[in-house]
């Protein structure tokens, strides 16, 4: 492995299944569709795949969240593996992409299929959207200190972060609304996005409240869908049908208590630590970034990522969003596929797919001009992972 293992791997292919509300298809079916698309996109055959990884794998979780595990996908595709991994702990949902790159760099495998699959829309078809722990006889683990108080959703946990940021820095609902309305505008240019009809600031402000200061359009939209990427050895770069996307730097750090409510300073997130580590591993700077694909499970998370990555000073994320800066054509085109707020909650991997396509110049009406550097930041609260990608 070289001194900078990021450079020993690359993203050779990307593929997605159908994405939508209530597709009534199985998670394994969607995953196979995305996997075959990604393998073909990389110019490979299924038998070339010798590594598989995913987030989170088979864990206890609400229906529709986890997706199929690595062994089900290996068995379905009928491939032999030299490396495999899944897990719910790590640098956010892109953890298996980062670890696949390290496995490739270490020579454990050559072409790793990495996927994230959700069927949260179909899962909620019969019950409506339930809170975490709803219907449980008793609550175990860290959520025992949250759920009995009705803090039954990450919406509640992160609303506390947003409120504190508003208190310390004067951030407003309108600032958060700029993230949501910009994402919607971008989604209008993405045929795969779930919500594409125009949304004004007034529409945003008039939506029903979920957990103050979050209204309905501050929260991402559950969907069914699978995203797969192929992480390959950098040695294959010349043979690919599409321009390879290279890993410039990873960020995986967490430097405060790994807890939603005991995290030290709620105006920042683990994003702060992951971002600092990422910049320490590259000569590039925030000024070099052509597009930012930043997690928006809730609108505020994107603002926190913008500050964490140093696009503006701490506390200045709200004003930074003003004046069209995050629009296509602005200084920092943000979540150009519509994000999870309008594109659909693909749980981190939608941002990766978009970054790859932007760097390839394959985004059509929503293409960022001369896109050479993209940053992907995923996670919220005490969970964060990020990576800088180049073409």
């Amino acid at each position: 492995m070289s001194a900078k293992p990021e450079r020993d791997a690359l993203i050779a292919g990307v593929g997605q299944s159908a994405i939508g509300r209530r597709l009534f298809r199985t998670d394994l079916d969607l995953t196979c569709e995305a996997a075959l698309a990604a393998i073909a996109d990389a110019g490979l055959k299924p038998d070339d795949i010798d590594g598989i990884a995913c987030y989170p794998g088979p864990i206890a979780a609400p229906s529709g969240f986890a997706g199929p595990g690595v062994y089900d996908v290996q068995d379905a595709l009928g491939v032999d593996l030299r490396w495999h991994l899944s897990g719910g702990e790590g640098p956010a949902q892109i953890s298996p992409i980062i670890h696949a790159a390290l496995a490739v760099a270490a020579g454990l495998c050559r072409h790793a299929l990495v996927y994230r699959t959700v069927t949260e829309a179909t899962a909620a078809a019969d019950t409506g959207r339930l809170g975490i722990g709803a219907g449980a006889a008793e609550i175990r683990g860290f959520t025992a200190y949250l759920i009995p108080f009705g803090a039954m959703s990450a919406a509640n946990w992160l609303a506390l972060y947003a409120r504190r940021h508003m208190h310390e820095y004067g951030t407003t609902r309108r600032h958060l609304g700029l993230i949501a309305t910009t994402a919607r505008r971008h989604a209008g240019l993405n045929p795969q996005a779930v919500y594409r009809q125009p949304m004004t600031m007034d529409d945003y402000l008039a939506a029903r409240m979920i957990s103050e200061p979050f209204g309905l359009y501050d929260c991402d939209v559950p969907v069914d869908g699978s995203t797969a990427v192929i992480v390959s050895s950098a040695a294959v770069g010349r043979d690919l049908p599409h321009p390879p996307v290279r890993f410039e730097a990873f960020g995986t750090a967490i430097r405060a208590r790994p807890s939603w409510d005991q995290w030290g300073d709620l105006t920042t997130m683990a994003a702060r630590d992951a971002a600092a580590q990422m910049w320490s591993r590259t000569a590039l700077t925030p000024a070099d970034v052509d597009t930012a694909q930043l997690y928006d499970g809730f609108s505020f998370l994107t603002l926190a990522w913008i500050e964490a990555l140093g696009f503006c000073a701490r506390g200045e994320g709200g004003p930074f969003l003003e004046g069209g800066r995050i629009d296509l054509g602005g200084a920092l085109p943000l979540n150009t596929w519509g994000g999870q707020l309008s594109g659909g909650r693909l749980h981190g991997f939608g941002f990766v797919a978009e970054a790859v396509r932007q760097l390839r110049g394959a985004c059509g009406d929503r293409q960022v001009a001369e896109c050479e550097v993209a940053v992907v930041g995923v996670g919220g609260g005490p969970v964060a992972g990020c990576m800088l990608l180049t073409r």
């Binding site: 709803a134 219907g135 175990r140 009705g150 039954m152 409240m209």
Partner: protein, 138 residues
């Protein structure tokens, strides 16, 4: 304001003492005997001095409001909304917090840093939840 409709916490190795003390009307947390650090949620070791000599110790029940949210979404059918979720910082130690409900306080009176005091909501024979209310009368 009844909270009985919500799932209760389980009694687990490092949480049982906390919930049982609340049921007895006392706010207590594990504390490192040599260095005095409060540890919540409970652990078998002090994260500051790595000492292993921990024992439950009382807290005053006084706190300040670190952040808050009014929850409007029913997370299961029939759940009564809205209600106030607060994140409070206990006066004994910076960063020592509880996620809780703020009660006896209309939402428009909520203010970050407002002084609060603990009150207990009985769940069952073993467990009560520590809730917080304004320390100063309205």
């Amino acid at each position: 304001m009844s909270l009985f409709f919500r799932p209760p916490p389980a009694l687990e190795p490092y949480s049982e003492a906390f919930w049982r003390a609340c049921r007895a009307g006392r706010l207590e947390m594990a504390r490192c005997t040599p260095c005095g650090w409060f540890i919540h949620p409970g652990r078998p070791i002090c994260p500051r001095c790595r000492g292993r000599d921990l024992a439950p110790a009382p807290l005053s029940g006084r706190a300040r409001l670190y952040s808050h949210t009014v929850n409007h979404q029913a997370w299961f059918p029939g759940q009564a909304v809205p209600y106030v979720i607060g994140l409070v910082e206990l006066v004994e130690q910076r960063g020592l917090r509880l996620t809780t409900n703020i009660v006896h306080c209309p939402p428009d009176r909520l203010a970050i840093d407002m002084p609060l005091r603990v009150t207990f909501e009985i769940v069952n024979d073993d467990i009560a939840l520590p809730l917080f209310e304004p320390a100063d009368p309205a």
